[in-house]
Amino acid sequence: MHSLILSTSSRYLLVLLQLFSVFLLLRGHNEPGGGFAGGLVAAAAYALYFIANGVEEARRVFRFEPLTVVVAGLGVALASTLPSILGGMEFMQSVWGNTGIPVIGKVGTPLLFDVGVYLLVLGITLKIVFSLAGEDEP
């Protein structure tokens, strides 16, 4: 069933929800939110787009292979431990740098780790959604 209202609004919602997910990601260190919640919201945006426009269209808009995003997420999360290893600190100890950028503020390895979680959750959720959407490809 194709709904014109849903498919039109999903196009705007896709952008809005993704902005919101990045907002959640960035405020997550000290307030409710974070990589997991942000990743889920971003995945929900594409899931909604898929419900409105079909799985082929959603895959095209997402552009990446979900599994690649999973790998990238895991890689980024693991890379966030590198500064602590190379700096000779305790494993996974936070390293902070003050950028002075308004809104974002301090940037450090916990944010990098959160970005990794964000990508991982986004990728794995979309992998599941797209697989369940009726494609036999495993």
Binding site: L67, T68, V70, V71, L74, G75, L78, S84, I85, G88, M89, E90, F91, M92, Q93, S94, P138
Partner: protein, 501 residues
């Protein structure tokens, strides 16, 4: 900084990650898997020698001090288990080169194997009960997929049982951890061991202890909870069932050992040991009798896994330093011998076309090397000198006699004899009697022709068995020191909490 403690977890994790994009290039995955297993073996040896020389190593992730942060602890017990895991990981990655087909590789066999090792090593190294739960989950999720790899109806039937019972046991584990946190306010093992004696709600602690025994008992396949194991271990590819048979149940045994000596030290663990003194002989006897009725090679061996777990439980229940040392050595010996027997079952299948003992025969004349290797592993399992199993049994039985548990010791000796009978049955059916000629002699479904790669890991493991048997002195020394360290909870606590609190 003790990054070495985290390496056994990080190395396979990074390897799995690097492998993932190479789905269509199995050659790259195979090379990475083999390289990583070799590196893992080096890491395990380094960790073991560091812990042996310098005492317990700890890592507090992120620099957050012990009861609050994520703690990894490597004492001798953990380091020995990590070393055994590395050995099995290495041999399995070699064995899989000769036995896993393209289709199974496409379904992420190699990355999943690495993730399984992440979970197992994590469970051995963690110093926190909740993290133990998390590592169990990592291990289980990988094992679910590995078990169903290939997707034949028989495999799916086995997987359904395995997944159901393990999900249930995870739920029990999580409830136990929740109650314990509510009672004690901490889940760090060292911190718990300091706080539990002062807690007044003893009934709740007893409940937690029994819940933990049930959940670890399911994983270890102890007496009333073992039924899922023979129902599922004979279905997946041989490389998978070998690593499962060798390692997964022993993670459960390790958890029982760790939790009821390090975490619970009071009346609760004594009650658990009294229960274990009943469960141990029942597990031995039921397992070996179950095996006597089997004619499927891998099913028969699966029942023997259960039976052997009984000896380890017996050792844990006695709790004397000699018994713990014997139990630890028994675990390592069993990991090696059992995995070797499962590899051999795969070669038998490859050479004769079936796992059913009735349908095969005559392998002694066609495959003399295989017959010799089987003899070494089987006699080690039964406990014939001078192989590793003899010493393992000697230590456990001696500890049993010294502590006055004559009934259980007698059961252990009788089960030994029945194990020998069972191994003789395999020998007679598969190797000695003439080939009945029911099945065509080669089986295309198993193996891809690189037979040397199937033999190499078995030869390695049999070498370890003979080495343990002939130079027992240093091995005994190591087990005794590990046991002493495990029973010295005070020093564990000091190592983790830094003498504070």
């Amino acid at each position: 900084m003790n990054l070495l403690v985290a390496l056994p977890i990080l190395l396979p994790l990074v390897t799995a990650l690097v492998m993932l994009p190479f789905r269509e290039r199995p050659g790259v995955q195979r090379g990475l898997g083999l390289g990583a297993s070799l590196a893992q073996a080096a890491v395990a040896v380094a960790l073991l020698s560091r812990v042996y020389a310098g005492g317990i190593l700890t890592l507090q992730a992120g620099g957050w001090a012990a009861p609050f942060g994520i703690t990894l602890v490597a004492d001798l017990l953990s380091a020995v288990m990590v070393a055994a895991t590395a050995l099995i990981g290495l041999t399995t990655s070699i064995y899989s080169l000769g036995s896993i087909d393209r289709e199974q590789e496409r379904f992420f066999f190699h990355p999943l194997m690495q993730l399984l090792l992440v979970g197992i090593n994590g469970a051995f190294l963690t110093g926190d009960l909740f993290n133990l739960y998390v590592w169990f989950e990592v291990m289980l999720i990988s094992s679910f997929v590995l078990l169903a790899l290939g997707g034949s109806p028989r495999q799916l039937e086995g997987s359904v049982k395995y997944v159901t019972i393990n999900l249930l046991s995870s739920a029990i584990f999580l409830s136990a951890v929740g109650i314990l946190y509510g009672v004690a306010g901490t889940l760090n093992m060292a911190d718990l061991s300091a706080r539990l004696p002062m807690i007044e709600q003893r009934d709740l602690l007893s409940v937690v202890a029994v819940l933990l025994l049930v959940t670890f008992g399911v994983k270890a396949a102890i007496f009333p909870l073992f039924f899922w194991l023979p129902a599922s271990y004979h279905t997946p590819p041989v490389a998978v069932s070998a690593i499962f048979a060798g390692l997964l149940t022993k993670v459960g045994v390790y958890a029982i050992m760790r939790v009821f000596t390090t975490v619970f030290t009071g009346p609760e663990s004594e009650a658990i040991f009294r229960i274990l003194l009943w469960i141990a002989p029942l597990t031995m006897v039921v397992g070996v009798l179950g095996a006597a009725a089997q004619y499927d090679l891998r099913k028969l061996l699966s029942f023997h896994i259960v039976s052997q777990i009984g000896y380890m439980l017996f050792a844990i229940a006695i709790q004397s330093p000699l018994a713990i040392a014997g139990g630890l050595f028994y675990i390592v010996h069993n990991i090696v011998a059992k995995t070797s027997l499962f590899y051999i079952s795969g070669i038998v299948r490859h050479k004769s076309g079936a796992f059913q003992l009735k349908k095969i025969g005559g392998l002694y004349s066609t495959e003399p090397l295989l017959a010799a290797l089987f003899l070494v592993s089987a006699l080690a399992l039964a406990g014939i000198p001078p192989l590793s199993g003899f010493w393992a049994k000697l230590m456990v039985i001696r500890a049993g006699l010294e502590s006055g548990h004559y009934f259980v010791t007698a059961a252990a000796l009788a089960v030994s004899l029945l194990t020998l009978f069972s191994m003789t049955k395999i020998w007679n059916e598969a190797f000695w009697k003439d080939d009945p000629g029911v099945v065509s002699s080669t089986d295309e479904a198993h193996g891809n022709g690189r037979t040397a790669l199937l033999y190499l890991p078995v030869v390695m493991l049999c070498g370890v068995i003979v080495f343990f048997g002939l130079s027992f002195e240093p091995v005994y020394e190591l087990s005794a020191r590990a046991a002493g360290q495990l029973l010295d909870v005070e020093s564990y606590r000091n190592a983790v909490l830094g003498g504070g609190l």
